[in-house]
Subunit: 382 residues, 2 copies
């Protein structure tokens, strides 16, 4: 699967962006990604939009046509949705569309505007990613991930400080990312003393509610002079919506299945990965992802993170963007932003946060508490 | 593009289905389509769900994983949305996915549950397909199509009776379709005397709010003994969301562009089409579709319909299912149901409403007032 190239990538600033609309975000990110790629607008054959909540919160559905109109395009366009994995699914659709031969060059946009609404409404609508019994029980995603954290702590001796280390690392990375929602360093002590959200998860274990957009241009075409970044694997797997239906809370089965297929499809092993963007919606989620993706044996990721193995300078460097935790989590944008970050790393244009010599990268985007997992593997080519 | 086959198709009853949930609808339609195709569940590589309003009305997003769980699948799954064209876009995604080589056999589901909610809320959420200025003006889709009808009447002399003829034909067709929402014949007089919704459109010019689901199985694989139905073209085009931004209200530019490309891609001409399912959300929409699809010259469709040319026995037979008007319009299901109907016609299994000798069929699914158009051309092969 070496015939899909990433020709460009861009994000807006992530954060509480009170004075811009989804339309503004998309106009900005589309301008940037067209610039970055050198692709002219009339070469775009299709638009794939990853978004979760625009309909439920903003009463705007039909985002494919909506943003195409904004960009002056009349090509094929559609919205792709799978909760917080909407962005990853949009990239997957883009990859499929190129491989199908139906389209040569496509624009994939991820966008979410979350801060215009009452936080209670946002929290409620986010539970649209979960199961009926979870909603009926009044569960929220922090509560569900708290259960997952407890299970992991019980089985593997993972501590609250271990989880705090994830947040500290990702905030450190974000401090080098001017587009991050929280580009500031924090300490383990600060995490431990932050307000409890759902024991054992505290405020600084949780990713924020953010606004933002990200975009990539995918193509089967490439200019001979360009340093090529190609998609080596694009895999989606699903699992039960509800955590109660799963036999093991210390792993996300969808991640494991998607990762195994992605490694098989690409011939790339976990040890080949230089840099990875993973779905750290909560600090415990990154620990579990490290294990599910095969980077560390089950129960060993916490120590590896504590030892700095996934921090800039280690290998694989994980969530160099700051992750969902510190770079922010505009849900539909996240999966696209992950691909943008890896693209920039493999092109060697990531500035202060460049992972030296990065040649192979992975993205891992999750919907709900693990019902959808989307894995992409990207490769730099000469 | 002859390597994507329709292996099976099924719909539920369309109508006001008060005692079933979206989950029930999908379980039923999936069982039926697997039965019809002879494909076993473990051969399904991906699920594409066309749905518009489940998040906004029912607070259930993440329908790919939601329905996969219901069906006991853990494969790739996603929701595809483009307002009332969501079903057509889901089919398009399924076709892309097969052509990409990533998946061999996929399940495409269209589903919508609309009658559990207050009609005011449904009407409001449906405007999520429209533009900001339209919403700000308090416009609804009947109002927007009324403007379109007025423009067509003014330019081409189309009459209210001409529009009524569309409804009468489609209700006659629906009377042969046990799954139709309204399987009853009506008269021009009855349409003319029905309540005014938005002048010149009356109640019986408008498609209903319906519940229902439809599904097809697409594959690159085929059993040698099967009568093959293949996808000859699958095309999406877009236009402005708002009608005010268009230069001509008497045509849908997205339909024209998509149709032209579909004819070009397939080498099939409008005159080759034996049977077509078109997006008659309002009676005027079918008249305009007849012209935009090239079945009749601009301004000549009304007379052709009046003369019975598109009624069972004529050619092309249009909306033999009863169309959106009489078979019902569960928005996310509609585009998939259209493909199911054409598949059944080309297989020769359409019972009382069989179009004799049908070999080539077309589907036309529209989002909003024409911002998205999806065209599929299907072909029977020996």
């Amino acid at each position: 699967m070496n015939s899909v190239y990433v020709l460009g990538g861009a994000t807006t600033k992530f954060g509480e962006l009170w004075n811009v609309s989804p339309r503004d975000l998309v106009r900005e990110v589309a301008t940037r990604v067209l610039d970055d790629s050198g692709v002219s607008k009339d070469k775009i054959d299709a638009v794939f939009v990853g978004n979760m909540l625009s309909g439920a919160l903003g009463n705007q559905e039909h985002l494919g046509a909506f943003f195409s109109e904004e960009l002056g395009l009349t090509c094929s366009a559609m919205r792709v949705e799978g909760a917080c994995a909407s962005g990853g699914l949009a990239v997957h659709s883009g990859v499929m569309s190129i491989l199908s031969g139906m389209y040569k060059t496509v624009l994939v946009i991820g966008v979410e505007k979350m801060t215009d609404f009452r936080p209670e409404d946002v929290a409620m609508e986010l539970m649209g990613a979960g199961s009926d019994p979870e909603r009926e029980a009044g569960a929220t995603f922090p509560a569900l991930y708290a259960l997952i954290a407890r299970a992991h702590m019980t089985r593997y001796g993972t501590t609250e400080e271990d989880m705090a280390e994830v947040a500290v690392k990702n905030h450190y990375h974000a401090s080098q990312n001017p587009n991050a929602h929280f580009p500031v360093s924090i300490t383990v002590d600060k995490v431990m003393r932050s307000s409890v959200v759902a024991t054992p998860l505290k405020l600084l274990d949780c990713s924020p509610i953010s606004d933002g957009a990200a975009a990539v241009i995918l193509s089967s075409q490439i200019k001979p002079s360009q340093k090529r970044v190609s998609i080596a694997a694009s895999v989606v797997a699903t699992d039960t919506l509800g955590v109660a239906q799963r036999t093991d809370l210390t792993t996300l089965a969808a991640t494991v299945r998607a990762a195994q297929k992605a490694y098989r499809d690409s011939g790339i092993n976990p040890s080949d990965i230089d840099v990875a963007e993973v779905h750290d919606c909560f600090s415990i989620a990154e620990i579990i992802a490290m294990e599910d993706l095969g980077f560390f044996p089950k129960g060993k990721a916490a120590k590896a993170i504590r030892d700095g193995k996934t921090k800039l300078g280690g290998r694989p460097v994980v969530n160099i963007s700051g992750g969902l935790k510190a770079s922010g989590h505009p849900v539909g944008a996240t999966g696209v932003k992950q691909v943008v970050e890896i693209y920039q790393q493999l092109k060697g244009i990531a500035g202060n946060r460049q992972v030296r010599g990065a040649k192979i990268g992975l993205t891992h985007n999750v919907g709900g508490s693990g019902a959808t997992a989307v894995i992409h593997i990207l490769k730099a080519q000469k």
